[in-house]
């Protein structure tokens, strides 16, 4: 009989560490691939699992390998049907002729593996953040968050730490020898039994007296030593830990006027989908306000913002005014980090662009941490608007804002593949920005 061992209950994931190391190693490659994928796919698909081909570069294992198609070789193959010595067989056009020479490395790289949704998003939004998240000018009025810091002898009743308190009380009762309930009950029983005796003799009577005295003494002792004494009581102590002001709100402003064609709207929506995903993933406490405008602006919910169709003329300033109104109503700039992203095709009612610029410079930019303007343009226009100074009326007006405010960014998108790079550019981590002012 040999030695049988049942290993099935042994831990399974022996390779887990190796797999994680591999993913870490392949990270760069995977990231590049996912970005490529996003350029071509629908952006909303980012938010899903992805099959990714085995990354070859970051995870290659080079060795000295014979080059295919060099030198003289001999193969021995099975299954000859009608070949005679001297017969010539044409080589297949690409690569080596026979399967026996096929490299193992090739086959191994040629497969896909699945990344989970989390892994995809993690790779996707790596190194991005909202700039200037902490309001530096408001350092003194920061919010506080209570943090546990040991125990205290005083405090409010809601903070009593029962466990601590009872432990102290128990220790004190032992130390002071407070008689327990059981001891008293036993004594009382004994007394009761003796009292029930019809003809007690002298010794029994004396014993009864003694017991009564003892009971009396114990009861007095018990009264004097309380079960829980104020000295026992402990409270949870909290320290007020200053919290950086991290309330943030993102205003998404989208032009849905009739000048925005299907293509433009699609591009703008894709941009906002990306922004939305990014914010939802990175910041658990962030408000997002969706505003869309034609010649009038209105706050809408997420669903309407992304999926509903509406059309009309264009007055961009209405959106800015709506934003201003909402800020005054709900998001006092003292407490909130305010961000905004605006997408438009740049067409605007005459003289409204100047008005937009003046709203921005005089009011909004004072309130906003960061304002990103994305202009959706025609692909043909990319050449015409090669230099940044040319452009639509809105673009030209915003150029003046751009010059004045460092936290104002503007950029153009002409095709779906621009979206992600532009997005990255707008939200790339900027370590210096925090110390700017």
């Amino acid at each position: 009989m040999p030695n049988f061992i049942d290993r099935r209950l042994n831990p399974k994931d022996k390779s887990l560490g190796n797999r994680q190391r591999f993913l870490k190693r392949a990270r760069e490659e995977l990231k590049r691939f996912i970005k490529d994928r996003v350029k071509t796919d629908r952006i909303a698909d980012v938010d899903a699992g992805h099959a990714v081909p085995m990354p070859a570069r970051g995870a290659s294992e080079p060795t000295f390998q014979p080059a295919r198609g060099s030198g003289d070789r001999q193969y021995v193959l099975p299954g000859n049907r009608d070949y005679m010595p001297g017969d010539r067989i044409d080589k297949p056009p690409t690569g080596g002729g026979s399967g026996s020479a096929a490299g193992k490395g090739l086959a191994e790289d040629d497969f896909q593996f699945l990344l989970s949704r989390e892994e995809v998003l993690e790779l996707f939004f790596e190194d991005l953040e909202l700039p200037d998240m902490v309001k530096l000018s408001l350092k003194e009025s920061v919010a506080f968050k209570p943090r546990r810091a040991g125990f205290a002898t005083s405090g409010s009743p809601t903070n009593i730490n029962v466990g601590r308190t009872m432990r102290n009380s128990y220790g004190r009762r032992i130390a002071l020898q407070r008689p327990g309930r059981k001891t008293l009950e036993a004594l009382e029983q004994e007394i009761g039994r003796l009292e029930a005796e019809l003809n007690p003799d002298i010794s029994q009577r004396q014993h009864l007296e003694a017991l009564r005295a003892q009971l009396d003494m114990l009861e007095r002792r018990r009264r004097r030593i309380p079960y829980v004494d104020p000295v026992d009581i402990r409270f949870n102590r909290f320290e007020r830990q200053p919290l950086p002001n991290a309330n943030a709100v993102m205003f998404c402003l989208m032009d849905v006027s009739s000048s925005m064609g299907e293509r433009e709207k699609d591009l703008a929506k894709r941009f906002f989908v990306l922004l939305h995903l990014f914010l939802k993933r990175r910041y658990d406490r962030i408000d997002i306000v969706f505003i869309r405008h034609t010649d009038e602006a209105g706050e809408v919910d997420e669903e309407t913002f992304f999926y509903s169709t509406q059309s009309g003329g264009t007055v961009v300033s209405t959106a800015l005014e709506e934003m201003l109104r909402i800020i005054q109503e709900r998001y006092p700039a003292k407490e909130w980090n305010i961000y905004a992203a605006q997408a438009s095709d740049g067409d605007n009612a005459s003289r409204d662009s100047e008005r937009c610029a003046s709203i921005l410079t005089q009011e909004l930019m004072r309130l906003c941490q960061y304002y990103a303007y994305v202009e959706i343009i025609d692909e043909r226009e990319t050449e015409i608007f090669g230099s940044t100074d040319n452009g639509t009326s809105l673009w030209r007006a915003y150029r003046t804002v751009d010059g004045e405010w460092p936290n104002f960014q503007m950029t153009r998108i002409a095709r779906p593949s621009d979206i992600y790079p532009v997005f990255r550019k707008l939200f790339a981590r900027q370590p210096t920005l925090q110390y700017r002012r």
């Binding site: 049942d6 000295f64 080059a67 030198g71 299954g79 399967g99």
Partner: protein
């Protein structure tokens, strides 16, 4: 035995349990040891699940393995293929150790467990214990202990020096794994105490008799004497024991930049490479031996009435799919199946011993008709590797059966030429060519440390002895050279020299 007291069957249902596994093992052992005359390490059979089998796959089949991302990559690959159903998992996995560890998959039916026990615990086990390559190069008793040491050692290094530092060394070492084995000579033994003592005394003597005056003597000026330069080089090579085929060994001993722990990592990779080297040279024989053993044993079990007809049919079904050899133009073809070739050759040896034809008598006068097939096979298993085994035992009958033919592929031609087929003129050629294709040492790229001038620019000069004009794939060659440079610390150059003519065909270097 089971509910059916009258029957001699080892088991009745297809479910296994440890009792039936034990009965089957005993019955197999009796046949293997007494009838086939096998000689095996004590067996240890371990039941594992499919996940654990995947784990074992990705750590090159060792129960203990250090951590490295490349194993993760292999795991992801294997898992993907398994989940998609591209290929199933092996029924077993066997480790050349003492005791010999065999993994059995829990999903196997009892019939499969019996087959696998015969195949791995006796077939492979016997081969590991008796084949001269394994005997010479591997230490079955020590490998598990060594793997335990290496795993712990590398984990400790990661703790102390950081994962990435350890990974960098292992990456480079893995790139040289194929060049990290001694093919032709035994690894140099550690010098004995006496010799070390003598070296120390000599050094002391030199220190005592050192005179600074000698340094002030003017050096020979002008052109160095070519003869002298050559003598220097020769001297140098002799000291460093050059040329050296084992690059990992050379770097471990002579690298100018590695720390002791890094040298130890190289050593670990080198030891593992050396441990697996015999397996690569005996694929056909090892699998052939195991397949022949299980085939013989299940037939004997059936003859003894110990397994039912249904069971042996299940076993034969599995057996025949294992030894299936598709033809070269079949989409399933992926090289010659070592199971098929090995098994067929061993069956053929049995046939030649028992019922030789006149052709066999011409080709194998020493064994044809001897009736000593057991002894012949035991001898072959013990004393051959794939190359020599095929060269000696591949019979014309088998060449006809496999319909083998030989193709000549010259890089300059747009066609391959059929050099020989399975006819009278071709047998010898095909046998030689097939044997050569199993010569691992000849097929691997022969890259050796040729020279290094430690006092000069410290450039490490490698030489690639090209056979049949086969060059190296450039991208991976340059990357591998960079790995060597990383381990060596200074520039590395590689020269491709034609093995026949001795002419230099190409040169490249890292700097």
């Amino acid at each position: 035995m089971g509910k059916n007291a009258g029957s001699k069957l080892l088991f009745h249902s297809s479910d296994w349990n440890f009792r039936t596994l034990g009965h089957a093992y005993d019955a197999i052992e009796a046949i293997a040891l007494d009838e086939l005359g096998l000689d095996v390490y004590p067996n240890q059979l371990e039941i594992i699940s499919s996940e654990q089998m995947l784990d074992a796959y990705s750590s090159v089949g060792m129960p203990l393995m250090y951590q490295h991302w490349s194993f993760g990559k292999r795991f992801v690959y294997e898992e993907h293929a398994y989940r998609k159903g591209h290929h199933g998992l092996a029924y077993e996995l066997v480790i050349n150790s003492n005791p010999c560890i065999t993994y059995l998959m829990e999903e196997n039916t009892m019939a499969m467990q019996t087959l696998v026990t015969a195949h791995a615990a006796f077939g492979h086990n016997h081969f590991f214990k008796n084949n001269y390559l394994f005997k010479q190069w591997t230490d079955a008793g020590a490998i598990l202990g060594y793997m335990d040491f290496s795993k712990k050692y590398i984990a400790k290094c990661e703790e102390r020096h950081g994962t990435s530092a350890v990974e960098a060394i292992l990456d480079s070492a893995h790139a040289l794994m194929d060049q990290g084995v001694f093919r032709y000579r035994r690894p140099p033994r550690l010098s004995s105490k006496k010799e070390q003592e003598r070296a120390r005394e000599r050094l002391e003597y030199e220190e005592q008799t050192y005179s600074d005056l000698w340094r002030t003597l003017p050096r020979a000026t002008g052109r160095p004497d070519p003869a002298e330069a050559e003598r220097d080089a020769l001297e140098r090579k002799k000291v460093l024991n050059l040329p050296e085929e084992n690059l990992l060994y050379f770097l471990e001993k002579n690298s100018l930049v590695l720390e002791p722990w890094q040298r130890e990592l190289l050593r670990i990779v080198r030891v593992i490479a050396q441990y697996f080297y015999p397996q690569r040279q005996t694929k056909v024989m090892n699998e052939g031996c195991a397949t022949f053993v299980h085939y013989t044993i299940i037939n004997r079990l059936f003859d003894q009435g110990k397994i039912s007809e249904g069971t042996i049919l299940e076993m034969l079904h599995s057996h025949s799919s294992v030894v299936f050899q598709p033809h070269f133009d079949d989409p399933r073809y992926s090289g010659i199946n070592p199971y098929a070739l090995g098994f067929a050759m061993m069956q053929d040896i049995e046939r030649i011993c028992n019922q030789p034809t006149s052709e066999d008598r011409d080709w194998f006068p020493d064994i044809a008709g001897s009736g000593q097939w057991r002894e012949t096979l035991l001898d072959a298993w013990a004393n051959h590797r794939d190359e020599s085994f095929i060269l000696q035992y591949l019979s014309p009958a088998l060449i006809r059966k496999f319909r083998l033919f030989q193709l000549t592929d010259q890089a300059d031609n747009k066609y391959c030429e059929v050099a020989s087929i399975h006819n009278e003129q071709g047998y010898g050629e095909i046998r030689k060519a097939l044997a050569r294709s199993y010569d691992v040492a000849a097929n691997q790229q022969d890259i050796q440390v040729f020279d290094v001038d430690l006092l000069g620019d410290r450039r490490l000069r490698l030489e690639h002895r090209m056979k049949n004009g086969i060059v190296l794939e450039e991208a991976s060659r340059d990357e591998t050279l960079r790995h060597i440079r990383h381990l060596w610390g200074y520039e590395v150059s590689l020269a491709g020299v034609d093995a026949e003519s001795g002419r230099v065909r190409y040169e490249c270097s890292t700097g």
